[in-house]
Subunit: 340 residues, 2 copies
Amino acid sequence: MVSMKDIAAACGVSVATVSKALNDQSDVGRETKQRIRRTAEEMGYFPNTAAKMLKTNRSYNIGVLFNHEDYSGLTHDYYAFVLESLKNTVEKKGYDITFVNTKKRLAGTSSYLEHCRSRGFDGVAIVCSDFYSPEILQLVRGGLPIITLDHLFNNVSAVMSNNVQGMQDLLTYIYKKGHRRVAYIHGADSAVTQSRLSSFYRTAAQLGLTIPDEYIHMSPYRDTKGAYAETVRLLNLKEPPTCILYPDDFSAFGGYNAIQERGLRVPEDISIAGYDGIRLARHIEPTLTTLWQDTEELGRRVGEKLISLIEHPKTTLVETIVVEGHVFAGNSVLDLRGKK
Amino acid sequence: MVSMKDIAAACGVSVATVSKALNDQSDVGRETKQRIRRTAEEMGYFPNTAAKMLKTNRSYNIGVLFNHEDYSGLTHDYYAFVLESLKNTVEKKGYDITFVNTKKRLAGTSSYLEHCRSRGFDGVAIVCSDFYSPEILQLVRGGLPIITLDHLFNNVSAVMSNNVQGMQDLLTYIYKKGHRRVAYIHGADSAVTQSRLSSFYRTAAQLGLTIPDEYIHMSPYRDTKGAYAETVRLLNLKEPPTCILYPDDFSAFGGYNAIQERGLRVPEDISIAGYDGIRLARHIEPTLTTLWQDTEELGRRVGEKLISLIEHPKTTLVETIVVEGHVFAGNSVLDLRGKK
DNA sequence: TGAGAATACGAAAACGATTAAGATAAAATC
DNA sequence: GATTTTATCTTAATCGTTTTCGTATTCTCA
């Protein structure tokens, strides 16, 4: 590997001058600078990032925590799209992305925080993980520029999909279509679930809907079997709902199957709605009514904010960025108005 | 940041001894070693990866080339699942994964190869990219441990999904169900497409099927609109096929919509089949008959082989690893036998 | 007991860059 | 013409490790 030393020798100057020339510093002669740069080019020089990091404490590398033990990680449409957008955003600004290894500790380290500091990440995005683990808390408090997605820590910047508004919009949309008996199969407990669920209840109250307890049950995210079972249960009620909300689009398909197997049709006999807005939901008939989340903006804002925290730590304020989604009106929710 | 120097001072030994103690070398006394390690622990020491890299030329970091300009990258089920499996595999062995930035050059570098060498990646997996670009070729020839997915370079290890066998199995399965007029809407040109297409033709010939030219058309991968249009075209033929193969599962749903809008049913009126085996395809009725690709094994083999190339360069031979998929028999292909 | 081996540790160079401070010569100032 | 400025380049320290080689001490065994 050709180093600055080699270029210095070839050009008959010192290493310092080479460094300055390549970094376009002012105290190098115009002609010398050109000669050095040409030589560097000819000799196929490229910088040793490790050496540069060692001196400058900058890596232009961003750590991404993406723990998919419990969550589905990359194979989850929502997270994959957010990550894709995040990746594009930071790459355009000259940063690389490295996943924080969650399986095996980096030699000599004993936590995510140490891993990140050891690798010299300029900042860390916590995109998908168990936010309640003490190790994450330690990372968040570790002093590195940090940003989280869909979870709020005290004094840490976060990007949040507006689940409160989202659920409100979705339920209101369904209400306006004339539905009065709405069931909600919600996902497993998490900050996101809590937002949606409380928003569901609050919106229902505001709309004057009474939601019997048996209309609210839990089924894990993206679990078609669970959604299937819960749907069967709902259909067997004395007074079944006219519309069922699912934890996510994926689950909605599980419910859809249960409905079809009963010989019922969506939306003529019963309406359904998902959450997320995965691509396929728009491409399958009946297209699924769902709350589409703006994954492009979510990822972009995560990246932009994190880089801002890195590059302007003094002037960038800690804040929570809220990203709005919107109702995608498919044809899985029947318009009951005027049919009364 | 506490360094070895600090520990050395605290323990009254030299930096060299600290390094040896922490790396569990033999020429350090048992008691000294323990003392040093305890102190390191207490002081919250963790190694500086950059410094270590600089000395050892090892990063325990793997570059992944994932170019999604033209391809869909992370949002593509196939690649996302492969990457997820690759990530799990290498992480278990103590490696981190870094994406090779394809948007903006790392400072001072002028190609993927230079980027990878500058970052000190121990090896690079080319998972999703334009294999025909000269820059990729340069990377592949650059001397780093390299592995490719679904593309073959001379003298470079590769992991390939067996598209030839896959297409043969799929078509044979359909043939055995009694279908004799089979259309194939294939994806845009690539090594993968070529394998599948030639296998389709060869298998058809072996089975004695005659495939009229109008049964073979191109529609880009994962393009539901294109698949829709091609399906309409096929349905309008004087002699339409009894079964249509699509470039992938996603496209198949586009075709499905075209069929439904015509008032036809799948599979009663026309059969369809996809390729890939994405999750959702099993969860939507009619479940899609498709060739399921073993993304878990594909990713795992990519990771294992690359690490083997890194850790045992002398004894690891360059080879092409072929991973088999299998037909997932959904109910989108009608059994025509006995109906003649 | 004494020579050679084994054990435990240290000094110092090296990896490839950055950067503050100093040196030198040419140009500018009065 | 002496002095200050400016432009250009060098010296040398430093980042945090690893690793080679040297040395002093202890051990082993004839």
